[in-house]
């Protein structure tokens, strides 16, 4: 069931996930599959000065005609969300493909984790790339296999496993019903003239305090620390050790963690003498929410 056709015009794909989940590699596998299938292609990742767990995305742009493209496109035809906990951060466009156990409205839901099993995030890039390849006309199973072998750095055992997983995902997605396409929101804009602003405004000076808390680094977490207040003995070692300063103490001197800014480093769990802090995968939390 291929629904996107690069021989009929430009197809733009975006992968959303987190640093460490192979998002750049997913783009590269899809890009390579298209390249060996004879299409013109561009692929590139986007990330800032961030780290493992931070949101990362990568683009693949393809067509059988000349590509006159540079940088992130204004709209996409296929949005692949590899980490479901990012759903609320993403403005989905085109066909929406989500790595999820549950069926979702207006989206293809593919439980990539169930295909991957114990290999975990090692194989996520191969699964996500082959799921998207199955939706694009002109890419065969063999091109995906070849691309995985070329793009993934792993030992022979892992490579073989990843190829098996990719093939199962590819065949599975091919049989799924066609999802709806979410239209791009029309962007109304106009050019404006820049006026003179005095140096008090036009200097990049930050006068307000605590502005870094507005950067919701909570989205970087792969796991979240959950406190068992019963087991907590109010030693507040976690409060002292937290490198981000996101732990406050309640009236009983027990920790309250701000999930808006906690990056999930789990130093608090390490220092807790009473094992009162446990790591919970963010994907499980998001499914409950």
């Amino acid at each position: 069931m291929a629904i996107l056709d690069p021989s009929k015009g430009i197809v733009r794909v975006v992968f959303y996930g987190r640093g460490g989940q192979g998002i750049k590699t997913a783009g590269r596998i899809l890009g390579r599959s298209l390249f060996t299938s004879g299409f013109n292609v561009q692929d590139f990742p986007i990330y800032g000065a961030e780290r493992r767990g931070a949101p990362v995305y990568s683009y693949v742009i393809t067509s059988s005609e000349e590509l006159l493209e540079r940088g992130p496109p204004e709209s996409v035809d296929l949005t692949v969300i590899v980490d479901k906990s990012l759903l609320n951060l993403v403005n989905p466009e085109g066909v929406l493909l989500v790595n999820s156990v549950f069926p979702l409205e207006n989206a293809m839901s593919v439980d990539m984790n169930s295909f991957i099993g114990k290999l975990g995030s090692y194989a996520l890039s191969a699964a996500a790339a082959s799921a998207s390849a199955a939706l694009i006309n002109g890419i065969g199973r063999n091109e995906v296999i070849e691309a995985i072998n070329k793009e993934v750095i792993a030992n022979q055992y892992l490579l073989k496993k990843e190829v098996e997983i990719a093939v199962s995902v590819f065949d599975y997605v091919k049989k799924l019903p066609t999802p709806k396409t979410i239209g791009a929101k029309p962007k109304k804009d106009e050019l404006v003239e820049l006026s003179f602003d005095g140096p008090d405004i036009s200097t990049p000076l930050i006068l307000a305090k605590g502005t870094s808390t507005l950067r919701k680094t909570g989205a970087w977490r792969l796991v979240r620390p959950v406190v068992n207040l019963e087991a907590c003995k109010a030693c507040y070692l976690c409060y002292l050790a937290c490198p981000e300063g996101v732990i406050k103490l309640n009236d009983e001197s027990k920790p309250i963690i701000s999930y808006d800014n906690c990056k999930g480093c789990m130093v608090c769990q390490e220092v807790c003498p009473f094992e009162a802090i446990k790591a919970k995968p963010e994907s499980e939390v998001s499914l409950i929410e």
Binding site: R28, G31, R32, F35, N40, V41, Q42, D43, F44, P45, G48, A49, L68, E69, R70, G71, P72, E74, K187, D189, E190, L191, V192, E193, L194, I201, P204, L205, I206, L207, A208, K209, G210, T211, T213, L214
Partner: protein, 402 residues
């Protein structure tokens, strides 16, 4: 060999195929991948180059210049702040007439800091005496490195060269790149001609002169050599086409011949400019595009020819000289002033800090040309939604979270 590789890897391939002998390095985003690649090739024995990590860009470029005079074909690469840190040596190396090739991966200059590209970094080097070639695609990153060696080492020229490619939009973007055969590159380039130092060949460089006339003579000779480089570019690009089938010119003309209006651009955003031209052509707007590949030497004669009879020219500067305006606009205005029937010029500033030009920007540029609005000062390409973002961030900076 056709492959899907990044602009950085393509540039590294240029150095590999040129069989460079010496590569002094220092890392900086978004360039680092180039020297990583070369280091790995050297460690794996795939290239026969000595790779040395220096303690700064200033030392890196000093070592590069000295080695080029000592008989080694030299490659190095930097970006943005790194180029500025090495700046003093740019003028020295052109004065030494050391024909090395350095890649600059463009990135806007602080402050405020960014990682995305504009050209204030590389254009700061425009008066140094280095030749300057600007790549539009990943393929051109590779091709330009090969051409730069051929032109820099031309016996009429003997000057160092910078090859510029945009950070992110080329450096980290993979595209189809045709990697030439080693044998063909060997024949295209020929061996490095500077004699290695030996007991019989031990010249020293006359680096000090207090006589203004002597100083004037040597510095002006750098300009004379740049003028010779115009001919060297012509010869080298023709030779390149014969060897590899790809055509590069000091100025590329895109749908320009029958155009009434022209856009002038450089580097990777030219691709978006071409898309806009193609789209406006479908609406019967007679517009074309000139892309400057060579910035030094500045191809004045080609430019005068290419704009003849046009009704208006819009110069898109991805740079800014505060207090004056667009740098390339000024160069083009200077080149055309006083020529017969010079077309009207308008200046636009866009793409600073990597801001991607939009359809709206290009439509506005052509509208200004059509309406013949006198271009007293540059037009900044900024939209309402851009300003809303600025306003939002400014409010947070002044008053904290809303």
């Amino acid at each position: 060999m056709n492959d899907l590789i990044t602009g950085n890897e393509a540039a590294a391939w240029g150095a590999r195929l040129a069989k460079v002998d010496y590569v002094p390095i220092y890392p900086i985003t978004p360039q680092t991948e180039i020297v990583e690649k070369i280091s790995k090739w050297a460690a794996d024995g795939l290239i026969n180059a000595r790779v040395t990590r220096m303690e700064s860009e200033h030392s890196m470029l000093t070592a590069a210049g000295a080695a080029a005079l000592a008989g080694a074909r030299v490659f190095t690469a930097t970006s943005s702040q790194g180029l500025l840190y090495a700046f003093e040596m740019l003028y020295n190396i052109s004065g030494w007439r050391a024909p090395l090739v350095m890649v600059n991966v463009s990135r806007g200059l602080a402050s405020p800091l960014t990682l995305l590209p504009d050209h204030n970094d590389v254009l700061a080097a425009r008066d140094s005496g280095f030749l300057q070639f600007h790549a539009e695609t990943c393929q051109e990153a590779l091709d330009s490195v090969l051409l730069a060696y051929r032109i820099a080492e031309d016996s009429r020229v003997m000057l160092p060269a910078i090859v510029n490619l945009d950070g992110f939009y080329l450096s980290f973007t993979r595209e189809r790149v045709d990697v030439p055969e080693q044998k063909d590159v060997d024949d295209f380039l020929g061996p490095y001609k500077v004699k290695p130092l030996s007991k019989e060949n031990l010249p020293s460089m006359g680096i000090t002169t207090l006589d203004p006339a002597v100083y004037s003579y040597f510095r002006y000779q750098v300009h004379e050599a740049q003028k010779q480089a115009i001919k060297a570019i012509d010869d080298a690009t023709k030779r390149f086409e014969k060897f590899f089938g790809r055509k590069l010119k000091a100025i590329e003309a895109y749908m320009a011949e029958d155009a009434d209006y022209l856009l002038i651009m450089t580097d990777s955003f030219s691709t978006i400019g071409k898309r806009a031209v193609k789209r406006m052509r479908e609406e019967n707007v007679k517009v074309g595009l000139l892309r400057l590949w060579a910035l030094r030497p500045f191809p004045i004669d080609d430019l005068v020819q290419a704009v003849k009879g046009k009704r208006g020219i819009a110069v898109f500067d991805q740079d800014l000289s505060p207090g004056l305006g667009g740098i390339i606009y000024q160069e083009i205005a200077g080149a055309l002033y006083g020529t017969d029937d010079a077309p009207k010029l308008a200046s636009f500033i866009g793409g600073l800090g990597g801001k991607i030009p939009t359809d709206l920007d290009f439509e506005y540029m052509v509208k200004v040309l059509k309406e013949n609005i006198p271009p007293n000062e540059p037009h900044l390409l900024m939209s309402k939604s851009d300003m809303e973002l600025v306003k939002k961030q400014r409010e947070i900076a002044l008053r904290g979270g809303v």
